[in-house]
Amino acid sequence: MATESASNGLKSKSDPQVIFIKPSKSWVSLNLRSLWEYRELLYFLTWRDIKVRYKQTVLGAAWAILQPLTTMLIFSLFFGRLVKVPSDGIPYPLFAFAALVPWTFFANGLNQSSNSLVSSANLLKKVYFPRLTIPLATVLAGVVDFVLAFAVLLLLMAFYRVIPTVNIIWTPLLLALAFVTSLGVGLWMSALNVRYRDVRYVVPFLVQIWLFATPIAYPSSLLSEPWRTIYGLNPMVGVVEGFRWALLGAKTAPGLMVLASALASLLILITGAYYFRHMEKTFADVV
């Protein structure tokens, strides 16, 4: 949007803000300041998404746990039992579940943020606010689901008598990495979705391919070293292997791999945010 609020220095109540409206240049700044000004709206949108998510469902928040749990059972049966995929010496169900918990957070966040703008079409057409809040709120709301699933993961670890190492302190950062990746791809997809509704069909497909391109059902230790780090350019590789390392005490610290993942995910987030801001001015006309 071509608007800047210029409130000259002191912001007293008698000094009304002045808004300038003019056509914007083709590329615009991220305007994180206005995002900060609308932090309460971000809070309410996130809170709405959390409240509404499991309304009128029988199982309610149990869905947050059932999704990764059933996938884990299927993987354990087919890959663990039948194909006998190696799992770095960790019981296969735990091995898969530790990866599925952050993965489910990522995949749901991506799915929901991709559709977030289109499903808020009415808001886009009627009210001004920084549009970034919409996909941001949907990904943020997923954190609640993540916490529930993470609790189940801890229970499962207790069941297998796996004691977490001190490296568990890294999990918040690894979650942040999954968050950044989910939001980054979500920004791209949601902005594209406003113009090209193909995205609706592309995203489930993308998530499916990405699932198998990430070492969830199998360990990344199948690859030898230069390739393993390069594999980390898929940001979810770093997240998943990081989780296993931090919680289950997998032998090798995936430092380089996580670094590659962090760089890749930041690149996606920054380009996504700029693309989003670039497309933002057309949202209300096109959606």
Partner: protein
């Protein structure tokens, strides 16, 4: 406080027609367009008759609009469908960007382009007040402070913790308007929100608008309700085809608008572009006559009247709604062919028209306007404001003369008196 609240300078907005009718495109369209582009370039070079197909695909919803509004002014924006009123409000509300030009707004803006934006049906009234307030730009502490006021204005105290999906439409509207009404911005942009709800609700809304205007706030108000514009606004801006046609007092702009509406009637209906709806079915012509024998054109009070609507592209389950307005823009009566009565008949000889018959026209002598909407299967196909004008001559209601310009009201009802014998 500066001496200008809103300053609009040369504001223009261009829409591509493509993106207006078919709001989103698929990747396939874009790819196939891109693939065909070289061929199209060849073709246009080949034909060389200079048709400006590039230009015809865009329309200017607003063209070079300039005006200034002083703090405390209440300005009514009037004009026909597609005149650019809503686009102007959307630009000022920062929902969409102008293509050219510049606007400056001094003060906190509250835009009310629709009531209840962002309401979620699964959430309770209380939760929606906070959510909607935040969307409209209110701070949480402000919402908390005014919470009780909002609830009592909406008259939903008992249902405040019930999910909004169980509300009646009246309750829903009241709550939605209540939140918006407590925004307290310096500048309020309002788009036709008063056109919804029952009479009591509308009265309440207008009362609230008067209050807001009375507090010295600046209001920019879009409406088709000329009576509301006349009552609320100190100034009227009449937009026509995206430009300012008249910028004067509310009364002067309303009469300019109504005059303009009349002029357009002389124009062929099929050539008019100020329509809404899907457009598969179009209103091609209207005939208003007495409907008896000679089809005399002049209607008179208490005499039969016939309104015939000729349509193109008519198909089964096409219905027509028309409303008669007086010359102040006040709606008087609405007729809907979708609502059936025992006297309705079907005629196989009619294949492109819907005809409405009135046995006794209950209008007092004067000049009237007709707005028409055509729908099929619940979808609006065509909508025309000022589709026709007609004159009613002096007549009699069952033998009781009705004289022009005597007394109040525009409707005369069949009645009789009882009085003591003298």
């Amino acid at each position: 406080m500066s001496d200008v609240a809103i300053c609009v300078d040369g504001l223009s907005k261009r829409f591509s027609i493509h993106s207006k009718h078919e709001s989103y495109q698929t990747l396939r369209d874009t790819l196939s367009n891109a693939a065909l582009q070289p061929f199209r370039a060849l073709k246009s070079r080949g034909s060389e008759n200079g048709d400006e197909s590039g230009d015809s695909e865009t329309i200017w919803a607003l063209k070079n609009v300039s005006f200034e509004v002083k703090p405390g002014e209440v300005v009514g924006l009037i004009g026909r469908n597609g005149a650019g009123k809503s686009t102007l409000l959307k630009i000022l509300g920062r929902v969409t960007e102008p293509t050219e030009g510049f606007a400056k707004i001094c003060g906190r803006v509250g835009s009310l382009l629709e009531v209840g934006v962002g309401f979620h049906f699964e959430l309770s009234g209380r939760e929606n007040i906070f959510l909607n307030g935040a969307i409209l730009g209110m701070k949480r502490i402000d919402i908390k402070r005014r919470f009780d006021e909002i609830v009592s204005f909406a008259e939903i105290d008992k249902f405040i913790d019930t999910p909004v999906k169980h509300y009646s439409s009246g309750m829903y509207l009241r709550l939605a308007f209540a939140v918006a009404a407590h925004l307290e911005p310096d500048i309020l942009l309002v788009d036709e929100v008063l056109a919804v709800g029952d009479a009591a609700f509308q009265k309440k809304c207008i009362g609230k608008m008067e209050e807001v205007a009375g507090e010295g706030r600046t209001v920019l108000f879009v409406s088709h309700n000329m009576a509301a514009v006349q009552a609320l606004c100190t100034r009227g801006i009449f937009l026509h085809n995206g430009s300012v046609f008249t910028d004067s007092t509310a009364g002067a702009s309303i009469s300019a608008y109504l005059r303009q509406l009349e002029q357009s009637v002389s124009q062929d209906l099929q050539e008019r572009s100020d329509r809404r709806g899907r457009g598969e079915i179009r209103l091609a012509g209207i005939e208003i006559s007495t409907g008896i024998n000679d089809h005399a054109q002049t209607l008179a009070t208490g005499r039969p009247a016939m309104f015939a609507f000729y349509l193109t592209g008519m198909r089964p389950r096409t219905s027509c709604i028309f409303t008669i307005y007086d010359d102040f823009g006040q709606p008087l009566a609405t007729f809907n062919s979708a609502v059936r009565g025992p006297d309705d008949s079907q005629d196989s000889a009619l294949n492109n028209a819907l005809i409405c018959h009135l046995d006794e026209l209950p209008l007092v002598p004067g000049r009237y306007r007709v707005n028409v909407a055509v729908s099929a299967d619940g979808e609006l196909q065509d909508h025309l404001e000022g589709a026709a004008f007609f004159e009613v001559e002096q007549g009699a209601m069952r033998g009781r003369p009705v004289i022009k310009g005597k007394g109040y009201g525009r409707i005369c009802l069949q009645h009789h008196w009882q009085s003591p014998s003298s």
